[in-house]
């Protein structure tokens, strides 16, 4: 009898505990959503504000300064610029949420259409850069941590610090001169040889994937020739960050007691380092890699300028130079959104991978 009662009470307890846990997870998810929404709202507010402080009158930018006053007045009303600022902001947000950033003055297309066309190029480059950065950076960081204080450590450290200190556009220029002009190892600036530009129809816009899917290996090799230099360059920058953080996390893990006990068990040093320490260091590393991915998407602005890479960065800088504010703001909102999304994903992944950060 007694036993049964206690059984029931424990089962009820576990039930209620499971209930509170789902509730807590839901609450956490709601908080995440709230954070994301406020951040996104802030992004829109700031971009809207930027769009309003331009010294150029948007009406005159459309009509030119010789338009008669009546036309100017009518266009102003048509563009909604006579409404109160709050209402304009509301209209702006409504437009953005529907994917309407207005028209680009430069390309005369809707900005959204342009962004859709330019974004895959940036995505492809940043993804490849992050892959290179992680595949080289993590082993380097582990090596530096294991051989702490040795000359290997110093070399890795300086290699990383230089990556932090070099202007990406400058290095891109010099590498282009060396590898394209002098050695002719890589293709000229651009994504693909001109010969294929019109004969090859992309599916997703990620040219490496597209050409491989269609079995067009000559196109594929042309794409590789073009992407290798900018991808290596971005990879170096992400490597600098990733190797540094890996070293720091690894040092932290290697000084923990479970490492001592793993060694005491007689495990090989390689197993201790790669299977025990790195596995624990990998949790914060996921966040680091996500952040570095986000910064590559952003940092590609200058790389794309140098390599004439038709991505978002080039689109933004070209529009900037032509005072095409719709396009600039559209690009900024897009990259900002990706940034926010990646931050959130990193946060979520961190919580999923590290049980200690889960809600009790």
């Amino acid at each position: 009898m007694m036993l049964q009662a206690s059984d029931i009470s424990t089962s009820r307890q576990t039930m209620s505990r499971a209930g509170t846990r789902t509730l807590a997870i839901l609450a956490q998810f709601a908080r995440f959503l709230l954070v994301a929404m406020t951040t996104y709202f802030g992004l829109l507010a700031v971009t809207f504000f930027i769009g309003r402080i331009i010294p150029v009158d948007p009406v005159l930018a459309v009509l030119g300064d010789r338009a008669p006053a009546a036309v100017v007045e009518r266009t102003r009303r048509e563009m909604g610029l006579d409404l109160p600022l709050i209402e304009q902001f509301y209209i702006y947000i409504k437009g953005v949420l529907q994917g309407d950033f207005g028209r680009s003055v430069l390309t005369t297309n809707p900005v959204m259409e342009d962004l859709r066309r330019f974004f895959p190029a940036t995505l492809e480059l940043a993804t490849l850069g992050t892959l290179i950065g992680s595949c080289v950076g993590i082993p380097l960081g582990v090596l530096a941590a294991v051989k702490r204080g040795s000359w290997t450590d110093q070399v890795v450290r300086i290699f990383g610090l230089v990556g932090y200190s070099v202007p990406i556009f400058w290095m891109g220029l010099l590498l282009l001169v060396l590898f394209y002009v002098k050695l002719q190892w890589v293709g000229y600036p651009g994504r693909i040889d001109v010969a294929y530009e019109y004969s090859f129809t992309p599916i997703t816009g990620l040219l490496l994937l597209d050409s491989a899917l269609q079995g067009e290996w000559t196109v594929f090799s042309s794409v590789v020739h073009h992407i290798v230099l900018p991808a290596l360059l971005l990879g170096y920058f992400s490597l600098a960050y990733i190797s540094r953080m890996t070293r720091s996390f690894m040092l932290n893990e290697l000084s923990q007691e479970y490492i001592v006990s793993a060694r005491a068990k007689g495990l090989s040093e390689a197993r201790v380092v790669w299977c025990h320490a790195l596995r624990n260091a990998a949790v914060p590393l996921v966040t680091v890699i996500a952040l570095s991915y986000a910064s590559l998407l952003e940092g590609s602005v200058l790389t794309e300028t140098v390599f004439s890479w038709p991505g978002i960065g080039l689109y933004i800088t070209n529009s900037l130079q032509n005072a095409d504010m719709n396009a600039v703001l559209g690009g900024t909102v897009l990259i900002g959104s990706v940034f926010i999304a990646l931050n959130l994903i990193a946060d979520l992944l961190y919580r999923m991978l590290d049980p200690r950060t889960r809600v009790q």
Partner: protein
């Protein structure tokens, strides 16, 4: 000589004394110990000497430069390779690149110092206030910080400059606007660690208003980690400013800003590579200097975490 003769202990012993007799002595002794730690780091000393050279170059640009940075010899000295007369060669307007780089150090220093002066105090104040007061003040301030932190820095700076109009002052403003949130985060984290410590409680019991507690007792605690962070950020600030200059939105011609110099050398990169290479090298050296200095400062100021 007289000081050494009169006192029975040497200056070094006085500095490293375990029982300082005055607050002044304790503070000096602490500084001395920090300096000792810093000095033993060879790379950090390299960084420090680079930054000191930058300061000297900026201060004595008139003496160090061999030519005018703005007026060139258009008739006979366009795009010349490095020589005894023009150490780094000349650019497309016949201006001496070495002299332009020397004067450019002033612009770099101007940008870096101004951004630090604007962004660090804002971040410090926001972070300490949020951390000390807590509650909804904390929630609101940190939400705002998060919004700014979630922004892509370079792109936001680009958009700001595009809206405000290109120019070095607007570039500084744009970089400052995008860099204070990180400082606020650090200051808040530091504040939270000392907020409930006894000495803060003691000051509160003596009747100090929150403003005094924050400004006199919490801000000094946060400064050392903030200095480290700002120093490490300087390299990033220089790179962002150079990037803005490269896209044509930073310093405007004929100012000898390094990023803009690279941009103008880009057209001649195939045959006259030194026009773009030299200013880029200057950027690399100076940002490397700030990075090494920041690393060394962190190790010296925070021995607990040194080596990580």
């Amino acid at each position: 000589m007289t000081i050494v003769d009169r006192s029975p202990i040497t200056r070094r012993e006085w500095l490293t004394s375990e029982r300082p007799s005055s607050r002044w002595q304790a503070r000096l002794g602490h500084t001395y110990a920090t300096w000792q730690r810093f000095q033993s780091n060879r790379l950090a000393m390299v960084g420090l000497s680079i930054i000191i050279s930058l300061l000297i170059a900026a201060a004595c640009a008139d003496l160090l430069a061999t030519h005018s940075p703005l007026v060139g010899d258009l008739s006979g000295a366009r795009l010349q390779p490095p020589s005894l007369q023009h150490w780094f060669g000349t650019d497309d307007l016949g201006r001496d690149i070495y002299s332009r780089i020397v004067y450019g150090s002033r612009i770099t220093l101007f940008v870096v110092v101004l951004v630090a002066i604007i962004a660090a105090p804002i971040g410090l104040l926001v972070g300490t206030t949020a951390g000390y007061l807590g509650g909804w003040v904390d929630a609101i301030l940190m939400r705002i910080t998060d919004v700014f932190l979630a922004f892509p820095q370079l792109i936001l700076a680009l958009a700001f400059v595009a809206a405000l109009g290109p120019g070095i002052e607007n570039a500084v403003l744009a970089i400052a606007i995008t860099s204070w949130p990180a400082y606020a985060r650090i200051a808040r984290a530091e504040t939270l660690t000392v907020r409930n410590v006894d000495y803060i409680r003691a000051v509160e019991l003596m009747g100090a208003p929150p403003s005094r507690v924050v400004l006199r007792h919490i801000v000094p605690i946060c400064t050392s980690s903030l200095i480290v962070r700002v120093t490490l950020d300087m390299a990033g600030i220089i790179l962002t400013a150079a990037g803005l200059g490269f896209v044509g939105l930073g310093a405007q011609p004929p100012l000898p800003e390094w990023g803009a110099m690279i941009a103008s050398g880009r057209r001649f990169i195939l045959d006259q590579w030194w026009v773009a290479a030299a200013p880029g090298l200057a950027i690399v050296i100076v940002s490397l200097g700030f990075n090494l200095l920041g690393d060394g400062l962190r190790d010296a100021l925070d021995p607990r975490r040194s080596g990580q």
